[in-house]
Symmetry: C2
Subunit: 478 residues, 2 copies
């Protein structure tokens, strides 16, 4: 990938508070070499929005023909989930390693889908994107390949669903935006946590005014992945361990996405500036040394510096609201995405278990909680929530996401997550990296909507349009 | 108070990341008028430590003779608690309003204490400090009076216990440090949350290595005080409502103190820099308008700007560890100080209830939790924990604090909180204010120990020295 070889990325323009200028910061895994360039712009020469993709509804497709790229970790599950959705045709599967295609095929072996296979070369995915009989490219590759693949697919006239984060540099974020606007193809980031049951509940509660004005939100990705990242089983060529040599919030979107939707970011409010503070790494470099002492395989990771164990990033919006987003994938801690929503009338939080709701000094009782859950159950959950739990995928949220996406494409509706969300939520990675490298000073967040956030409409969770796509449970054994 | 009339405060020296220079920022309640002055220093001309008060043990006092200043809110309870401690003589009570002295006296009416009264003038407290037969001045006045009173009392040869925050400007913080070092009098901030049962438990667990290296801590003061702050019952002349017109983390020490002790701040590590992000105020100004519409009393608060509802401040230490501290006294949220301790081997958190402990992917069971509590129970809790619960004061922690302080003074031991802790923890107020006013850019935290943090010893919680002071439960009716 060309993206891989870029050593430097351009970063958002800086302003305010007497900062001397903007800095160049580095992408993936290279050591610190910060140059200063006060002339950097957010995206040279292109500051007008070509076409507003927020709320854009592409022409409906009776059948959605999908090609999947990347079948290592998330891919095979997505293939199976899609096979449970009416109007989906799984047309192509692609992975560098042929064995991974077999794994995905096993998940749909009792179905009628007969996908073509693309494998064996680093450019094989392009042939999948070139296929005429594909409407949607579904990308589950390592992080640093996402943007280039999404851009290529859109340029071939395909809609795109791409795993998180959609991009790893600010320049890539802008490329996604420019390409989606020019091609009028959807570029949806697969932020599945936006479809978590409690996340959807709180989104609906926010819409119905339960929280009053939302003032503050919190999200996180606190997930001890040390074993995973150091294992040679999960991530091809140890890509995720290598990716964790950047310093910042490297995986912000699971915590941020649901909060951003609830706060109508890009749709009535926008992020203004952010700060990011990282601890040092107290564990990963030692783990590399320990592993290497008995296994040569780990020798390349000795002496490397890894991301700090805890990153805390705080964002302020133009409307004066705040978001606190944390990242910790290396501490011995129970899993948490926090998901806290705090407003003038109430508060809710998902983690630590159990989820909680309050409108004052005490959390509501279990009974009241159930009554609120009942009252504010979103229509999408009523429609496919139980079936989603049966299909599975992170407790059902993966399936709700896939079903909703297909249902929108089939009914010609705007998707819940557009390219501006993908770009903005992903941009927290390089922006946090800049702040961490610069004594946590604040950095302006680019406005990827280029002003249209003022008039963009909220995500439509009414299900008044659509909801027609059936879930196919008997199609094949699960 | 002269302190009240200062319009500008000097702020810590700035460095790093191309900030153009330091700014002057304003104290209490005045509108924004930020000047720039690149020549500001942390404390002009005085950068040497005169004498290290960390670990300093003043000569033991068989009897500790106390004078109390400020009997509005916290004072009367402190008077009563002290009456339950062996070797205490309550020698003097002072409040501007004579009626408050009566309230305090009622709390000790069956005791043998016969305090002198000082009241009626704004300078009455000085006469209390001037009394020869007093060893310790215990200050519970409004925030902006703390430092001036503490400095005056130390200059009269008295030890000082002072409510939180001990100071409200960086200059005041330095005055406390300079005065304590020069007079060799203790200046202890009454950070009672350091004596919370779970806080003490986690401090002891940290000492015994349960958490491994501590990487990250969190604290907060999330406490819906809207009714209190707008009531004319609690705070004389509405001082606390007025104080909440500053913008930042105005009350950081309850969350920060216990975390700072656990992370050995000023004693092996020190704060390097911090950032602070505030939301706007979405509630207080409206509440002022609503109240004023039916009650003239509130007219002066209409059109004022109040502190943002949520403030999130993040601090990084020289050793590369982080602290996240929040402040929200206006949202409809259940009380929380968070108190999260995260290390290489484990994690614990106090809020939201119930407290939790983990060493991996799951929280320990109730049974294991109890076993850990048993194993790591600090000696001070074993010694006076049950009695403290009987005496009361925030569930017992206030009494543990007072008992420990008196026991140290009587046995000639260093106090658990010294003037550097008081200054540092309090300095977060003006430092956060600067960051919030400057687009959340980072600000260096002054080293009040002036280098001695490298060799200062940990707070001694072994109770190997001291612990001799008896608790007097039958002294008088409770």
């Amino acid at each position: 990938m060309k993206t891989n070889r870029r050593n430097f990325i351009r970063i958002a323009g800086l302003s305010g508070a007497g900062l001397a200028g903007a800095n160049l910061i580095q992408a993936y895994g290279s050591e610190s070499d910060k140059s200063t360039d006060s002339n950097l712009k957010q995206f040279p020469g292109k500051h007008e929005q070509h076409f507003n993709m927020c709320g854009y509804a592409a022409p409906g497709l009776e059948t959605v023909r999908i090609g999947f790229i990347g079948l290592g970790n998330r891919g095979p599950g997505a293939v199976e989930r899609m096979s449970h959705i009416e109007g989906v045709e799984i047309k192509a599967l692609c992975d560098l390693r042929p064995a991974r295609i077999d794994v995905a095929k096993e998940r749909i072996e009792n179905s009628s889908h007969e996908p073509k296979n693309f494998s064996g070369t680093e450019e094989a995915w392009k042939k999948l994107c070139d296929m005429e009989e594909i409407d949607l490219v579904y990308i589950c590759t390592p992080w640093d390949m996402h943007a280039a693949m999404a851009v290529y697919a859109m340029n071939q006239g395909k809609h795109v669903c791409v795993e998180v984060p959609a991009a790893v540099t600010v320049e890539e974020c802008w490329e996604l935006v420019e390409t989606s606007e020019r091609t009028r193809k959807h570029c949806m980031m697969l932020e599945n946590c936006c479809y978590g049951f409690f996340e959807l509940l709180t989104l609906n509660m926010a819409r119905q005014g339960f929280f009053g004005d939302i003032i503050h939100g919190e999200g996180a990705y606190i997930h001890d992945l040390r074993e995973h990242n150091f294992s040679n089983k999960y991530y091809q060529d140890m890509w995720r361990l290598k990716a964790n040599q950047r310093k910042g919030n490297l995986y912000p979107t699971h915590g941020l996405g649901p909060i951003a939707q609830i706060m109508d970011i890009n749709r009535g409010d926008r992020m203004d500036y952010m700060v990011s503070v990282s601890s040092d790494d107290f564990m990963m470099h030692q783990m590399a040394e320990e592993l290497a002492s008995t296994d040569e395989f780990y020798a390349p990771y000795v002496g490397k510096t890894f991301n700090g164990n805890m990153n805390t990033s705080t964002i302020r919006t133009i409307r004066g609201r705040t978001m606190m987003i944390q990242h910790d994938v290396t501490s011995p801690r129970p899993y948490s995405r926090i998901h806290l929503v705090s407003g003038t009338k109430g508060v809710a939080s998902k983690y630590p278990d159990p989820a909680r709701i309050s409108t004052g000094h005490e959390w509501v009782s279990e009974e009241e909680f159930k009554a609120i859950e009942e009252k504010y159950r979103p229509k999408i959950v009523a429609r496919v929530g139980e079936l989603a739990k049966e299909v599975g995928g992170h407790g059902g949220m993966d399936f709700i996401m896939d079903w909703r996406t297909i249902d929108c494409l089939r009914n010609g509706l705007a998707l819940d997550q557009d390219v501006y969300d993908a770009a903005l939520w992903s941009s927290i990675v390089p922006l946090s990296e800049w702040s961490v490298a610069n004594r946590s000073n604040s950095i302006d967040v680019p406005d990827f909507t280029r002003g249209s956030w003022k008039n963009n409409q909220q995500v439509d969770i009414s299900l008044e349009k659509g909801g027609t796509t059936r879930v196919l449970m008997q199609e094949h054994s699960h």
